[in-house]
């Protein structure tokens, strides 16, 4: 579709703003990092995400209740109950422990597909953009076909066909994110390819793969990476959405989307408790979006 402005406006940034020449030479990322650290919103989000990631990774080491054992007598205890700081779910399992353990799966299912798609899409897009010709046509027209599906529809279609399960969910979301990343990678690569330093590298007689590795990849990775970070929140919402529909993680595994689904019946009894897993998805996704925006402006990429 020729209407995908959001992927086409991402441009390579071959001319980092010529600033006052510093006494000591600093790399590009140094400046980006310095700008990012000065942005309080990004730092708060990064802090919250780091905290969440830490809790999620080290969950087994934390003094948490067992997220799988419940008790029928202590079902749907409200927030603040003694022993269950965030209450219990519909099967009497500790909500706090389940939210932490649930974050493991949700974050993994949200972030891994983008990481995989980043790797695959960058390869495809750089190949298409650098080599051009019929290879470009073949890759980009295939991408166009996948673009004809709204992302949620494609995720549900593939997941629905493959059936529920963590691996299937990873596969379908990876397929969903390969086309947009490929498109961005292709357009950025094509613009870098036309720059004269790539010509200069070519006439040094270097192997094309070396030219790509040294002169193209380094200059296309950051815009592609920033674009990929902007997909993480969508990916996580989609991953949880698949589980919410019964297409992702299967019970009794704790996962935010699935927890939101199983707690739906409890909205009449304890609405705040029932909304907790969704609130976690929302907050995480908000932090991911804000951090991605911060990164984008720190790298001087206009949207």
């Amino acid at each position: 579709m020729s209407t995908t402005i959001d992927t086409k406006t991402v441009k390579a940034n071959p001319r980092p703003a010529a600033e006052e020449a510093p006494a000591k030479s600093k790399g590009y990322w140094h400046g980006v990092g310095a700008r990012l650290i000065r942005d309080p919103v990004s730092m708060i989000c990064a802090g919250l995400l780091a905290l969440l990631l830490g809790a999620v990774v080290f969950a087994p080491l934390l003094p948490l209740a067992d997220p799988f054992t419940g008790s029928m007598v202590s079902r749907l205890k409200p927030i603040g109950t003694e022993g269950h700081i965030l209450g219990t779910d519909e099967l009497g399992r500790d909500m706090f422990a389940r939210l932490i353990y649930g974050g493991r799966l949700t974050l993994m299912l949200g972030l891994l597909p983008v990481a995989f798609a980043f790797a695959i899409g960058t390869c495809l897009g750089v190949l298409a953009g650098y080599v051009g010709g019929w290879l470009n046509t073949a890759i980009m027209r295939t991408v166009d076909v996948f673009f004809a599906f709204p992302s949620i529809l494609l995720a549900i279609a593939i997941s629905g066909a493959l059936g529920a399960g963590i691996v299937n969910s990873l596969v379908s979301l990876t397929i969903v994110f390969i086309p947009p990343i490929t498109r961005v990678a292709e357009s950025v690569t094509a613009s870098v390819r036309s720059l004269e330093y790539v010509d200069a590298a070519r006439i040094s007689g270097a192997h094309p793969l070396t030219v790509v590795r040294v002169h193209v990849l380094g200059n296309v990775m950051s815009p592609i990476f920033v674009y990929a970070t902007s997909l993480t929140s969508v990916s996580m919402i989609l991953a949880a959405g698949l589980s919410f529909l019964g297409l992702g993680v299967k019970p009794p595994e704790p996962e935010w989307g699935l927890m939101l689904n199983t707690l739906r019946t409890a909205i009449y009894i304890d609405p705040v408790l029932a909304a907790l897993p969704g609130a976690m998805i929302f907050l995480t996704s908000l932090c991911l979006n804000l951090l991605s925006d911060g990164l984008r402006s720190a790298m001087n990429i206009k949207d």
């Binding site: 579709m1 599906f149 593939i158 066909a161 925006d293």
Partner: protein, 317 residues
């Protein structure tokens, strides 16, 4: 412009073909036999083979695809494995409700998104801009299936103002544009509209801010053009990109309605899909996805055909 229109029209053919290939393959990437769901457990090998032949699953893939595509072009999307009814009639009954929901949501989301985007872009870096930006990023970040539940908790469970389930009083599935039915569409439509609204707001804000900072705007102001006159120039520059983004978001409305319809028991394609998923009714899944994807392809086609009306560069190009 005629060449552009023709080119755009012809371009739909390979894309629609590719979409149908993908939809066809959905059944074949599924693990196991697509007939498992309906095959009796004690079926003999002969019975299994006979059944496979009946559904055409014993032919080579390209032949199966050719048959399937020919049938699909004639409006035959096969029979639902779970109900035995034709998929086409199931989908056509549901797709109307989905379109009503998507249409209502677009009436809410797009005008508001464009309005907020303009306001934020014009008052860039003021308190108004910051408030709108915060609102927009919240809209973009919210998982709408959760937002739906939250709205139900507030407006149905707590306040009791609006119904939380279905598309009409008494489980009615026949839509009518009257007060009784409209009460049912408010919550799902608002829920569905939030994400596109956030995206449109962000896009328009960036575009307006960008154009206002360009030199030619300064020249127009220096020339003594009124504020309204300047705004007219901004609108003309913002429209083409906004139209494209709106076109893309139409797809979101069609796709996003799947989860929303599940939350609100809205009798549309999303509801149909979630049933198909639970019963592993692959022909139904395939047919629904195909119809929705084709709707998206044609929605984008219409947006692209409208582009020359708002973008003089295409007309001349």
């Amino acid at each position: 412009m005629l060449a552009y229109t023709l080119q755009r029209l012809l371009y739909v053919i390979p894309v629609a073909f590719g979409v149908s290939v993908i939809c066809f393959m959905l059944v074949h990437i599924a693990p196991g036999d697509p007939l498992t769901a309906v095959m009796p457990i004690d079926a003999t090998a002969e019975q299994q083979a006979a059944m496979r032949a009946e559904y055409g699953f014993d032919r080579p893939l390209p032949v199966q695809f050719a048959i399937w595509l020919t049938n699909a072009l004639q409006g035959d999307l096969g029979a639902s494995i779970a109900t035995g009814r034709p998929v086409a009639s199931e989908v056509s009954r549901a797709v109307g409700n989905t379109l009503i929901l998507a249409f209502t949501a677009s009436l809410i989301g797009f005008p508001l998104g464009i309005f907020f985007g303009f306001v934020a872009g014009i008052f860039k870096d003021t308190l108004i801009d910051r408030a709108v930006t915060a609102f927009a990023i919240t809209g973009v970040s919210v998982p709408n299936y959760w937002l739906g539940i939250v709205l139900v908790v507030i407006f149905s469970v707590t306040l009791g103002w609006l119904p939380s389930m279905g598309a009409g009083p008494g489980g009615s599935t026949n839509w009518a544009w009257d007060y009784e039915h409209l009460r049912f569409i408010i919550l799902p439509a608002v829920t569905l509209a939030v994400v596109p609204m956030g995206i449109v707001t962000r896009t328009v804000r960036a575009l307006v801010g960008d154009i206002l900072s360009q030199d030619f705007i300064g020249a127009l102001k220096a020339k003594g053009l009124s504020r309204f006159g300047v705004l007219r120039h901004v609108v003309r520059n913002v429209t083409p990109t906004t139209l494209s983004v709106v076109g893309l978001q139409l797809g979101y409305l069609l796709g996003g309605s799947i989860l929303i319809e599940t939350v609100f028991n809205w009798p549309g394609t999303g509801f149909l899909l979630s049933n198909a998923i639970f019963q592993r009714d692959l022909p139904l899944l395939q047919g629904t996805i195909l119809v929705l994807a084709l709707f998206f392809v044609f929605a984008n086609l219409i947006v692209d055909l409208l582009q020359p009306l708002v973008d003089p560069r295409i007309k001349r190009g």
